[in-house]
Amino acid sequence: MATLADPIKESFRPSMLLNDTRYRSLTFQFIALVAIIATMAFIGGNLVRNLAEAGLNISYDFLGAQAGYDINQRPIPYESTDTHGRAAIVGLLNTLIVAILGCITATVIGVVAGVLRLSPNWLVRKIMAIYVEMFRNVPVLIWILIIFSIMISATPAPRDFRGEDPTASMMLFDSVAVTNRGVFMPKPLLGDGSMLVIGIFIASIIGIFFFRRYARKQLFDHGRLIPTLWPSVGLFFIPAILAQIVLGGPITLEYPELKGFNFQGGTTIRGSLIALWFALAIYTGAFIAENVRAGILAISKGQTEAAAALGLRPGRIMNLVVLPQALRVIIPPLISQYLNITKNSSLAIAVGYMDLTGTLGGITLLQTGRAIEAVLLLMLFYLTISLLISFFMNIYNNAMKLKER
């Protein structure tokens, strides 16, 4: 009877560090560690020497110094006498604004274009294919510049609105003016009691949410179909409007008016913001369209046929059967497209939109000469935004994922 002997105990030999897979990984990691330390020493030593030579030190004090430059699009109050730190925050908010606007618009464009690329209509299919190929294969920077030139050259100047016989006129009951300096729109002024109106508005949105949940529960539990569309619409508008009327109109609108060579009052959306927003949305929309198309094609034809056999109309098949399943395929690439929009929004610097790159990485860097600190902060900001977006989208993705048991 054969007995299983213990393997011979090998004593450790130095050559095992290289030839034995059990120890070799230790060797490699040790070499890697040394290489990292050596690189750090090299870079750090050079940095210290170069800074000493230039008479600089690493300090973030410049964030507290007066900025001394204007920002034309500011979501929070900002004057040129404010600090560089506040300018950076204005830039950050501007980045977030264009990123969020871009993500929403790109999603809408992408889903529509992606669905239309699979349309039975030959003409529409071809147009969408041309759109997707045209935008995917040309740099986004060129698109931003092209759309910015359209904004400048195809819209009237503010002075065209003046005089007895103006060549341009304001839209929507004289409230919105589209000019080559930007779009001027009415600004809501919050008077006394306006908080109440806003509160009622928010409460009615929450109400809609609960109403729909109740309707769905009724449908699932008792098979009772409660109409939700018109009650929701009513709930959305009527309480807030009633409150506005009852309280005597606490929220008023400040209309933009032509004074001198430009419009005054109201809010302004700069042409650069619009150009950047549209360019990013249309460009990324082309990529999202491809993702949507791939997602829809990934759903087996049996699903469509089963839905058709149940007697659903094509629109309902898409909304109730295909898209919810395709969403699982679409969401992961969609996350990276959102990240791309956020990162591409840094191209704002090309059209003079003062985002984070324009303020912190642009004028602040040039004025203070604090290149290392500014660029490091800039990277830190973008890294944080990117990680936050992917964190939240991953939570959403996990919630949508097929729960397998």
Partner: protein, 515 residues
Amino acid sequence: MSDTHAQSVAFVRETELPPAPPPVTETGAIKWVRENLFSGWFNTLLTVVAFYFVARILFFVFPWFFNGVWDAASIRECRDVLGGATGACFAVLVDRWDHLLFGFKYPPDGYWRIVVAFILLLGAAAPALFSKLPRRLLLFTALYPFVAYWLIWGGSLWLPMTILGIIIATGLVFRAVSSQIPVNMRQMVAAAIGMICGVGLSYLLFIGAKELVFIANSIGTASLGTSFAYGVFWLLAIFTFVFFIPMGMFVGYAIYNSYEDGGLVSVVTALLFIYAALVYLLAPIASGLNAVIPIELQAVASRDLGGFMLNMILGTVCVSLSLPLGIVLALGRQSNMPLIKGVCVVFIEFIRGVPLITLLFVANVMLAYFMPPESNFDLILRVIIMITMFSAAYIAEVIRGGLAALPKGQYEAADSLGLDYARSMRLIILPQALKISIPGIVNVAVGLFKDTTLVSIISMFDLVGMIRGPIQNSTEWISVYWEVYGFGAMLFFIVCYSISQYSQWLERQLQTDHR
């Protein structure tokens, strides 16, 4: 048979009817139009709307394009010729053609060099792209970087040729010799090389430790934060100092120890030899050859490169460099060594989390601080380094997807064949993983090529930089937008669209599953 009913039935058809043609609405163009354009009220509406839009665009674009003025000296002259009609001013393209393609500082009598380099690029890329071509042509692909460098940057032909010669000669010699040397001789060589490497590495580590102490001392202990950094750097310095001699000795010993199979020793020796030859022999040989047979082109500085050429150079160089780097990063991220995995993960996630433009800022304003004070890096080289790192991180993620998509059985099969890590990767895993990753890699490559336009923001004069700088700021061509941007968009479209078509073709070629 028909006779039987002849009396009872008035009429019996005796022959088969010829098949009737299908209704007009069910054949040819009409059927196609009905099915594809007007199959329902919604589709009809869509068709009408789409047709309206296409017509609007065409009615706008056609007169603009066909009224185009191709011969004028300035935008004002263009407008005079047009006389108020809509029309493009393509004269700007004619006038500034060279600037758009080659930048405004490249010597005009050297344009042919760029054209030749571009044509050779097509020739060099072909054997790498189409596997049906004879494999021997890959030699030309390997030769191409040296030729292209000489053509674009000029200078003496002998400089790149000597580098190439040193590398090839060393490789050939070592390949021929290493198997001939008897074992005891090989042992001696290995001992010598081990000594050199060990002492060299120890010395490097010693310098590193000194450097760390220097950093720690210059940070000082002024505040809590700096004290912490001070402590960290001192700890690192002590660590390095304690380990520097054993480490060097160990590596030396490891090299010595592997004399039996000879591979590592030859490679290390060859690398040392190439390094020494490049440092000590390159300049004398190159200048000597140049003195004997002078083949020289006018030297061009890197900052004089511009136009679409710059985009092409950056795109080609960065794509070809980032592919191997991306493979290494992807393998590193898959590795089960925590330190190497950690480094790769941090690198990839960091790069993917920041926009390319911030990395270009690093190249522009920060990288100089990280280099020794006297070193003088070209801006274009710094930019190439940063773009390569950027796209390598993305390629690494694509390849990681390919590696993860392979069934575990493939890894186990490679192990059970007794292949070591390098062989199992090279022969089994990577060929399959790369095949899966092709579409993703091509997407990254196309994206990278488009992103080369971003260098215009750090004031390099690539195609977009040329348009936004010298062309639109000139008095002749101020406020020319459509023609130049349209031209730029068209160039990029041609290149990117052909690349993506190629990738689709390649995918079909590599399809080995049965459908």
